[in-house]
């Protein structure tokens, strides 16, 4: 039992920040799907658990103009089920729908996934290829940080002790743009990535790639962007040679570890395969994207 802890459910971001600032042992949580298992595994118990889910601004999915805003404590099940969002960000919806089971997805959040900073987390690569921004509440007001900048190492982030991620913002993708996320696990469900690969591709009407982003999870202390794969794609059509260059660049960009889920050599190999497939899927989706087709 986790008995001695206090529980608080503030209604505003400011109250939550004040509680954090007043008590160095306090921790915020959303789904608690990382925090409670970690406490049970012997991590120090917080003196206070601050529930972020009663703060209106931290829950919900909204689009205003071309900007999507997703509350940091929104359960990923809601993101997966949001047809409008999933149509624009199919890969990010895929990554969100791979976390754990239905039980877990009804609770877990992007905020928790990113701040927990596991190298194998599923949503960060997909957030990063879509250039998601985290809006962070700080003592001096709010600051906006690229999702790619949040995790700084395994379990470490750029957040100060009393900072909270309030929401994520994402620009609606331009026409003929789509993303994809693939991961390899030893089972079909309920396991942690051996490798995760996210890609996003924008195509010109003639099929040439005009923009590309590739990011890998579980192959380094933090998510790895693969600029060489992006450079190999941009400017030309999606040929087999270009896809082979993506695979090689992805394998070369890995700095993996050996563990029970895979060896260094296996992870490198799989990273190449998944990166190539994710790019191909993203490009197929981009080609099928009818938004702005007549313009």
């Amino acid at each position: 039992m986790l008995a001695p802890m206090k529980y608080a459910a503030p209604a505003t971001v400011e109250e939550a920040r004040a509680l954090l600032a007043a008590d160095g042992g306090a921790r915020v949580f959303a789904g608690a799907t990382d925090l409670i298992p970690q406490i049970r595994a012997g991590r120090p118990e917080p003196s206070m658990m601050i529930d972020l889910k009663r703060i209106d601004r931290l829950s919900g999915i909204a689009r205003a103009g071309s900007t999507w805003t997703i509350g940091a404590a929104t359960p990923t099940a809601d993101i997966v089920a949001h047809a409008g969002f999933a149509a624009e960000f199919p890969g990010l919806a895929e990554a969100s729908g791979l976390i754990g089971s239905d039980q877990i997805q009804n609770r877990c959040t992007w905020g928790g996934n990113l701040v927990n900073a596991s190298p194998a987390a599923d949503t960060p690569p997909a957030l990063i290829v879509n250039d998601a921004k985290a809006v962070i509440a700080s003592a001096g007001g709010e600051r906006t940080v690229a999702a790619a900048e949040v995790a700084t190492g395994p379990g470490a982030t750029c957040l100060g002790a009393d900072e909270i991620i309030v929401e994520f913002t994402l620009a609606s993708p331009p026409p003929r743009t789509a993303d994809a996320y693939l991961r390899l696990i030893p089972r079909t469900e309920m396991d942690i990535a051996v490798v995760g690969a996210a890609a996003r591709v924008t195509l010109a009407p003639d099929g040439a790639v005009t923009a590309a982003a590739v990011a890998l999870g579980a192959v380094a202390p933090t998510v790895v962007r693969v600029p060489d794969a992006e450079a190999a794609l941009i400017g030309g059509p999606l040929t087999d040679d270009a896809l082979e260059a993506v695979a090689q660049a992805a394998s070369a960009a890995c700095r993996p570890i050996d563990d029970k889920r895979g060896t260094v050599a296996y992870r490198r190999r799989v990273a190449g395969v998944l990166a190539r497939r994710a790019v191909a899927i993203a490009a197929d989706r981009a080609a099928a994207d009818q938004r702005g087709a007549s313009s």
Binding site: M5, Y7, I36, P37, P75, D102, Q103, E189
Partner: protein, 168 residues
């Protein structure tokens, strides 16, 4: 330390209980409310034996703090039957011998109930994915999956009959 006072509904009944701030909902259901259907298999979200439905969402009650239930509607396996009438899932689990030791059964019933609520006509694959968060050490899953499919069939037949009766 002062205990937290929580008011919520459990299986449709207004309920209040006192708990500690760090106590899990699973623990409060079992130890404060005497509802021992939900089980603690792992305590870390992996096995699903603690599954309950909170405000319509299937969750592992071992990963929910009891004070979070304030104002919520909690449904546990004890609330599945209507009086003496078993839920179609309970009936089909009995008929299909979908349990052996029974430790996983309350959680699997809640996960299956949540699945059928969302998708009354699931394929076998959808049932298997829908139950991916629930482990069973005894049955090998096959009888569980068949029984969920059978319950879905019988629920649809019943609701079709009711619809026909209503329009007749």
């Amino acid at each position: 330390m002062s205990r937290v006072h929580v008011t919520c509904t459990v299986n449709g009944d207004e309920t209040e209980f006192l708990c500690d701030g760090g106590q899990t909902l699973l623990n409060a259901l079992r130890d404060e409310l005497g509802l021992t259907g939900a089980k603690e298999g792992c305590g870390t979200g992996d096995c699903g034996s603690c599954s309950v439905i909170i405000d319509g969402r299937l969750t592992c009650s071992c990963l929910v703090l009891a004070p979070e239930a304030q104002g919520a509607a909690v449904l546990t396996v004890e609330g599945l039957a209507s009086g003496d009438d078993l839920h179609p899932l309970q009936q089909s689990f009995l008929e299909g011998a979908a349990l052996q030791c029974g430790v996983c059964t309350p959680g699997i019933l809640m996960a299956a109930a949540a699945l059928l609520d969302r998708n009354p006509d699931p394929t076998e694959t959808e049932v298997r994915y829908g139950l991916a968060g629930n482990l069973c050490r005894c049955t090998g899953y096959d009888k569980i999956v068949r029984s969920v499919l059978a319950a879905a069939d019988s629920q649809r037949t019943t609701s079709q009959r009711t619809n026909t009766e209503e329009t007749a």
